[in-house]
Symmetry: C2
Subunit: 763 residues, 2 copies
């Protein structure tokens, strides 16, 4: 067992707090198939917490384009897997968890029997290619372990991982021919020109190295591998389906398609033939690296030195036990425990480690860097995750969260653009969504005292990021106090989000005693008022000339000045100052009624049709939980003097929006943001405005929870008398003393202690 060894590379040695007795195993409550149907976009395969390898079955390989048109169906395959599918194409090694756009799917492996086939075939005719039919009856998905029977090939496939190595075990039937396919053309969100280049080197009869370079969502991304087989192949070959190479000296002299060990081209697929006996198990280990084949080989040797599959599986599951035990909940309801620990599992997947065991990683400048005293992470879906996921990490994974911020600061140092990340993955910025929410993460860490990085330097980076006039209307925002819709679309979303981000910068500046910065950004934090249209009561797009845009439908999300939300939802996005917003909107009474309408009105179908990444289930009335802009909305009743309504709405959302089962998520999990909302809300509090020290009080949905904090303290939440009906907070005791506020501070939690809720069925 090398678990101790590879844990140190993940920066976990210092990050695991003192645990409870661990009497109960929590891994059995994790259901990785949750969210794999429709729009959840989770993947069911094996990974370790924040692991660099995400080894998971892909059930289809649709192209981004079909007949020259965008193929909308490709969107369903963001995680490579759809529960309703009947076939598996193979097992690839990189996947996002729950994103609303995608990439990756590197290095597909598929074991087959029978005649060699090098194309995947189609879902309706799996026999037309190497893919295989499968049944969920023969499928097991656990945290760190996945197993499935490949019906067409009569092969049982088992998968587990270390942080950087995917481990496969294939149990073969008796068969004249047994192959293992390595398909470098396969990918998620693929299209014919996505592969820029592929390279494979057959080092010897058990070791292969290579890389795949793509121009995808990440504009210029290269992933390297080292692949080791447990037994020698007897034969191998290649197919390069790319256009011919003009210089053909190679081809004139050698047949590169058979047993030729050095291969390069745009579209390589390889096969390896094995002599097998009935029931024989062949294992393979696929190590990844962001920097080189040598790096992948180093990772392979450091993390996966033996062929004990069960040992790797046990280590992976023990890693999950350790992480899951950071939050122990007590409830007699098994389903709740399953949803809770599945959510916790989903929060501990992204961001992922992005460096070799020796600390080498690819930087935004496309140079190789060495992480100096931190673990480098990638996959920052920040527009989603700044809301609750990173605040959750800031509470329960503060060491990792600080390293994530150091990774973002490295990004800042390495880009020529003077920008902290917007949505970044694999040494690339993909610019997805709006705002500059890196500043929120950094402010939250600084304000809550978790800044193991240089906080003043980080504040400088935030200021520069927020001052790039060329970025998405920031110049006009700075000059006019709002983004004009005629200059930059989704202008209201941008204005509101910039204002919140600017407030977060101000909070950080206050903490760091930089009053001029504080004043300047607090001024900007009030710019949300500039897009409020008193005549309609909504935030509404304005034009350069100062007037509001004429055409305006507050129920629509298309072309109305918003992104992933209509005016009804987005107009409530002033988390930095709900009190003033409520005044703006006509005072508390009117506001409560307005919120009630949001949750109860009917959203006609025509407004829903444009929304591609949530299902109808992701909506309650006109409140959209499947997208993020409203995630704080249920808590706003607190500011309007109606905390019981917060309690009631939160419980309703918890109950209706989260289940286990493949269709358990109403929208993309968004790299753990949806799950983090669930966890906070289940515990009874929520970070409405990251960068503030306070969490808003909601309604705890379990009997008891113990938070094991990294500082060694524990904080216990108890909900006496809670049930599906007893959702209202009658009274609270903080460390035994009556507590009447509708918020609790971060400091009160991390110093340890207990918060007791006494619940009731009456508001």
């Amino acid at each position: 067992m090398r678990i101790q060894y590879w844990y140190s590379f993940l920066g976990m040695a210092f990050a695991i707090p003192a645990m409870a007795q661990q009497t109960e195993s929590l891994v059995p409550y994790v259901k990785p198939l949750t969210g794999t149907a429709r729009m959840g976009h989770t993947y069911p395969g094996a990974t370790v917490p924040f692991g660099m390898v995400q080894l998971s079955p892909d059930t289809d390989t649709l192209s981004y384009e079909q007949n020259g048109q965008y193929n909308k169906d490709v969107y369903r395959y963001c995680a490579g897997y759809q529960y309703a599918d009947k076939t598996i194409v193979g097992f690839s090694h990189t996947h996002f968890n729950g994103t609303g756009h995608s990439d990756l799917g590197d290095f597909l492996i598929m074991p087959t029997t029978g005649a060699l086939q090098l194309n995947p075939g189609t879902a309706d005719k799996p026999e037309s290619g190497y893919r295989s039919a499968f049944s969920h009856d023969n499928e097991t998905a656990e945290a760190g372990y996945y197993k499935v029977k490949l019906d067409d090939h009569h092969i049982t496939a088992e998968l587990t991982t270390t942080p950087r190595v995917g481990i496969h075990r294939y149990t073969f039937p008796a068969a004249d021919q047994a192959h293992i396919i390595l398909d470098l053309v396969h990918g998620i969100y693929n299209y014919p020109d996505k592969n820029v280049w592929t390279y494979v080197r057959v080092v010897n009869d058990t070791l292969i190295t290579g890389y795949r370079q793509t121009n995808g969502w990440a504009r210029t991304r290269t992933e390297y591998f080292a692949l080791s087989f447990s037994k020698p192949f007897k034969n191998y070959g290649c197919e390069n389906s790319s256009a011919r190479q003009v210089y053909r000296g190679f081809w004139r002299k050698f047949n590169q398609n058979a047993n030729f060990p050095e291969l390069a081209g745009k579209q390589l697929k390889l096969f390896f033939d094995f002599a097998i006996t009935q029931g024989e198990q062949v294992m393979l280990k696929m190590a990844l690296s962001p920097v080189s084949m040598d790096g992948a080989l180093r990772n392979l040797r450091a993390e996966a030195g033996n062929w004990n599959f069960d040992g790797y599986k046990n280590a992976a599951q023990q890693a999950w036990e350790n992480e899951l035990h950071r939050v122990e909940i007590f409830t007699p309801d098994k389903a709740t425990k399953e949803v809770f620990y599945t959510s916790l599992y989903h929060t501990f997947i992204n961001p992922t480690v992005y460096m070799d065991v020796d600390g080498s990683y690819k930087g935004l400048d496309q140079n190789v860097h060495k992480a100096d005293g931190f673990v480098n992470y990638t996959t920052f879906s920040l527009w989603d995750t700044y809301r609750a996921l990173h605040p959750f990490f800031n509470l329960i994974q503060p060491a990792r969260n600080a390293d994530m911020i150091r990774s973002m600061l490295a990004h800042y140092d390495q880009t020529s653009l003077h920008m902290l990340p917007i949505w970044s993955h694999y040494a690339n910025e993909n610019w997805c969504m709006t705002g500059y929410h890196s500043v929120s993460l950094i402010a939250d860490a600084v304000v809550k005292g978790n800044a193991s990085f240089d906080a003043n330097k980080a504040l400088d980076a935030c200021i520069v990021t927020a001052s790039n006039r060329w970025y998405e209307g920031v110049g006009d925002y700075t000059d006019k106090g709002y983004v004009p819709e005629d200059k930059s679309g989704a202008s209201v979303s941008k204005t509101l989000e910039y204002a919140y981000d600017d407030w977060a910068i101000a909070q950080m500046a206050r903490k760091l005693n930089r009053p001029a910065v504080y004043d300047s950004f607090m001024r900007r934090a009030a710019y949300y008022k500039n897009v409020f249209d008193a005549s309609t009561g909504f935030m509404r797009p304005r034009l350069s000339n100062g007037s509001f845009k004429k055409e305006f439908d507050p129920l629509d999300t298309e072309g109305q000045g918003f992104i992933e939300g209509n005016a009804w939802n987005y107009s409530l996005y002033v988390p930095q100052d709900p009190g003033s917003m409520i005044e703006l909107m006509g005072g508390k009474k009117r506001f409560v009624a307005h919120l009630d309408s949001l949750f109860t009105m009917h959203l006609p179908d025509k407004y829903f049709e444009h929304t591609e990444d949530i299902t109808r289930d992701g909506i309650i009335g006109n409140y959209v939980h499947g997208n993020e802009p409203s995630h704080h909305v249920a808590y706003l009743y607190n500011w309007a003097g109606a905390p019981a309504k917060t309690q009631e709405r939160v419980r309703m959302i918890l109950k209706h929006q989260y289940h286990t089962g493949a269709d358990g998520l109403g929208g993309n999990d968004d790299c753990g943001q949806m799950s983090a909302w669930y966890i906070f809300s289940t515990l009874g509090f929520y970070p409405v405005a990251p960068g503030s020290e306070d969490y808003a009080i909601g309604s705890p949905a379990i009997e008891k929870a113990v938070l094991h904090l990294e500082n060694g303290n524990t904080f216990t939440v108890e909900a006496q008398n809670q049930s599906d009906k007893n959702v209202y907070v009658k009274k609270m005791l903080l460390n035994g003393q009556p507590y009447t506020k509708t918020a609790i501070s971060h400091a009160d939690i991390v110093k340890g202690g207990s918060l007791v809720f006494v619940m009731s069925n009456k508001p």
Copy 2:
């Protein structure tokens, strides 16, 4: 002056022997324009000895393909420059010297005035693009320095280099617009899909980094750069002429064509705009690296820290002075001196250094390696250069030659193919031509006592290389004693060359006391006999069934079992045992008559038409000097008891095949092989069989030469009474003692001393 500093990176600190007084400057005798017309394939630009940067004007950018067909004209542009051309496209940073195939041409820079143009335009209409007309009247080419007036732009361009940095100085006219173009699409032997990827990062307003990745003659090659301007540009932009990128988040948000600092795509061209005044000089420094942009930046800073153009030029020319002074010749004939030192210049260009200042280089396995105690070189045109260039290095540059061998052994360690290089460049094997002549270089170094590498390990590598049954008929060669033409074309060339190579391996084994290896390879060394057809008196292709191939025309080079030579020339290729070959061919008398016919017969035009890489001037009778297989042939008279005929023929070849002037070379210079033949023959001796300790005596063509050897000794050759008519050796004195052999040993030379020839006009 940082010359001392960068010299140490080139491994020159230890390689420069004690020099003569250096009273006479030799650089003025070097005429870099020699060989730039027609088939010489030399380039006229600036480089330092064995420098990583070869900065030279390209006069055209023909595509390898035209309308889907191979474009034969592209062959003329192997070095990017044809003397007859009237326009210059720009200045690129990597060039081969005199090759018969090509690649490279990386990072074209072109300064322009007037309206911005981003396409090169055509030769007949230079005003249609950024290229410019020029005149040879306004062109100066010196060792380490090149200058030209760009007529269309009224710009004077000057170029010089350090080992890893190209230095440009542009003197501008008064102009409203001044641009510097950086074209990453441009390349030599280009074709539309040759670019795999390009990347550019504008770090600040004077510094750019990037790379260009190509699939060319080198199948998978990436070259990195760091470009520094002497003054800030005021504006910049880009054109990406590749197919659209599917994921367009970047493009939706930003216009990457104007002042956007992070660019990636398949076909990038950039421009930088400058505000200039009349007569203003703008300099730029372009550093290269085989491994990374960081590496290029390190090279830039280490080698080119200031903006003193004349300082760089002086350092480059001093480097040439030092190298040229290794061989001092004394002759009243200025033309001879020019040919000699131009030849010496051409021998000291390839192979080129291929590592960063910190020793990092890309290996054959596409990983980054660090050269441990040696300088890593690339561009091994071994089928050409094993004959005379490397033996010349082994005599006059033994430290470098040993490092070149260490580079080849690193190649061997890094490839999965268990092969020493065949024709390798830039971390790729291109498999050009026949044989496995690496073994010849290694044997020559071992036998002559210049093995600073592990000689036994090197011998093992030679044995493995010669035993790869899959390589070009080696299996059959091993089994049958010849390569059957029906199994592998050019079978006679292969059989003859393998037999010679095997003899070389045997010599090394004898020196290293490994008698079993010696015996085994000496057996193979006699396999040349198996392709001799007594009925025709020529070497002739045999088939698998043992019979000779029926159709056979000993004058033809196409489909006759040979490559770059007909049976007349190639049948004489038994350098390891001319005596036995002469017996086989009917004895000395018959052989002399046969050789005489070779030199005097007329080769009908129809046999010449297929030969694409030499001009008619490269032929004397049917003796082809422009290709290499006959390079030893004039010396064979020595073995037939007719040394006077060797003397006569050698002088004839020297006189007719070598001149200065653009058309001074009758065929490709072949990375210095043609030039090395000239130097050896001018000095009066030649290495007929590398791997032997002996040089065959010819006829010295100068009055006196002093070889300054690295061991500190000097060896003087004197030719008393020599003239164009006095080409015959009447008598010789070695260190004052009469000497009557037709060969002189390497040991006799390197221990120092003198060899005096007394010449006469009678045989």
